[in-house]
Amino acid sequence: MSQRQLALILITPGLLLVAALFLYPLGFSLISAFTRPDGSLTLEWFAKAFELYSGDIVFTVIIVLTSCLLTALAAIAIAGTLTLGENRWVVGTLKALYRWPLFIPFIVAAQCMRTFLAKNGLMNNTFVSLGLMDPLSATSFLDWRGIIATFVWKQTPFVALLLAGALASIDRATLEAGRNLGASRLRVLVELALPQVMPTLLVALVLSFVTMLSVLSVPMMVSGSQPTMLTVDMAFRINAYGDYATANALGVITYLISAGAAILYLKRGMSKEAAP
């Protein structure tokens, strides 16, 4: 037996599992979204998906984009402070704190936020106790704001961790030179450090984008009301109506949204490579 044959034999069981539990269902979702029960091609499931859920499609894209943007800003602030911070006490505290949500499951994060952001949750209660808020003006954040807050809370440590690692590995001399020439730390971060770690930041954000598109527990638990995210709509089409065709059309729409993020990333990578 040649080495190649042995290698193929060793790798086949794993590939079979991926083929059976990923490739086959993926192919099935594509076929089911574009065909009638009799097998003829149709776009009627997409028409139905757009008719019923166009609001939720827009909602999902806005939620995920906003969450990614806020996650990026928070991660840049944290990673920037960790790398360029001069106050050892601040850097030490931040370092000890920021990673906490990293290994917390999404469903636990959702349960935390479900109580924390409620009308009478700990957040509003603390604001009222501190005199920052009038008890009557307390409102529940358990809607789109709650979903975004949960996503940002959960994903920021991941992006910040990768970004801090990348920032720590860039050449300190350019940053020191910038500081010596009188640039503020913010300016050094934005104009000297960030451009060098952009690829890392974008990879982390694309991964976060797909993750947020896949999470079912957070939109179900944090915001029960309409509008909601496509993951919840898909679960509803299946559980309430057994309507695989429309659910799969919605599924194809989520593939396209995530492909959009990946293409934007690749396009940027290519234009960068083309540049001198």
Binding site: P13, G14, V18, N248
Partner: protein, 271 residues
């Protein structure tokens, strides 16, 4: 004047840090409060009566939580076994053997992570339903293992690639068969990495919700599903206690990583 500015800056830094700490720990503090709140209703800002009544209810041997914990751990253990049984040979082949279109195979194992998963899971559930295994532990283990293969295959391949080839050659030179060389030299040296990937797969399985939600219900109830049902049923105490139980392995893992990192950093001091 300079002193005033630096005091103001320090105060600002302290305020920002305090706000950050509140945002970070507030949700967790709220969770902890709910787990020991026997009665808590508006307009009270803190629980009216504290107690461990719900903990007793959850940890009662006949309680749902203990059964769900058992199911969760059993599924996670089986998932690790399946994932490692598939990824150790695959990782070895990817790292050590001549393989046509190697990059394509690596990407194949990565793909399940690169797509939004809900649309995949609903179709897996449909197939499982047709062949009559929906709602079984076996079905849930398969779904978790497919998800875990990304980590286990990639980490196993890296672990095997890191094993010094000269040691394998030395074993072969003194007459060991290829299989014996693998069992006594390559595998033990790659073991730390493979164990790390196993821990990762275990934790992923323990925390997994979406796949179990479609493939396991209503017969298989893992801890995340129990948490979901309790939360949606309005039982915040049971939901919070379940969430805290789910946090334990995650926190242990984080402390482990932290120690590991610290040891790593310390080793470099003075080197």
């Amino acid at each position: 004047m300079i002193r005033l500015v630096s005091t103001a800056r320090a105060a600002l830094a302290a305020a920002v840090l305090t706000a950050f700490a509140f945002v970070l720990s507030g949700p967790l503090a709220n969770l902890a409060l709910w787990s020991v709140a026997e009665r808590w209703y508006t307009p009270y800002k803190l629980p009216v009566t504290y107690g461990t009544r719900y903990w007793e209810q959850v940890f009662r041997p006949t309680g749902d939580a203990m059964a769900s914990l058992g199911t969760s751990v059993w599924i996670a253990v089986l998932t690790v076994i399946v994932a490692l049984a598939l990824s150790i040979p695959a990782g070895y082949a990817l790292a050590r053997l001549k393989l046509p279109v190697r990059a394509l195979f690596m990407v194949m194992f990565l793909l399940p992570q690169a797509f939004p998963s809900v649309a995949i899971y609903i179709n897996v559930a449909r197939v499982f339903y047709q062949i009559g295994i929906n709602g079984t532990v076996f079905a849930v283990v398969l779904v978790h293992a497919a998800h875990g293969l990304v980590y286990s295959v990639w980490i196993a391949a890296a672990a095997f690639a890191a094993v010094d080839k000269d040691l394998e050659l030395a074993a072969r030179n003194i007459g060991a068969s290829p299989l014996r060389t693998f069992a006594t030299v390559t595998l033990p040296l790659a073991a730390p990495g493979i164990i790390a990937s196993g821990i990762f797969v275990f934790l992923e399985s323990l925390d997994e919700f979406t796949g179990t939600f479609f493939v396991g219900v209503p017969q298989v109830t893992t801890l995340p599903l129990l948490l979901y049902n309790a939360a949606m049923g309005g039982n915040y105490q049971v939901a919070s206690i379940t969430a805290l139980i789910l946090l334990v392995p995650s926190v242990l893992f984080m402390l482990f990583i932290e120690r590991f990192l610290r040891a790593d950093v310390l080793a470099k001091v003075g080197a």
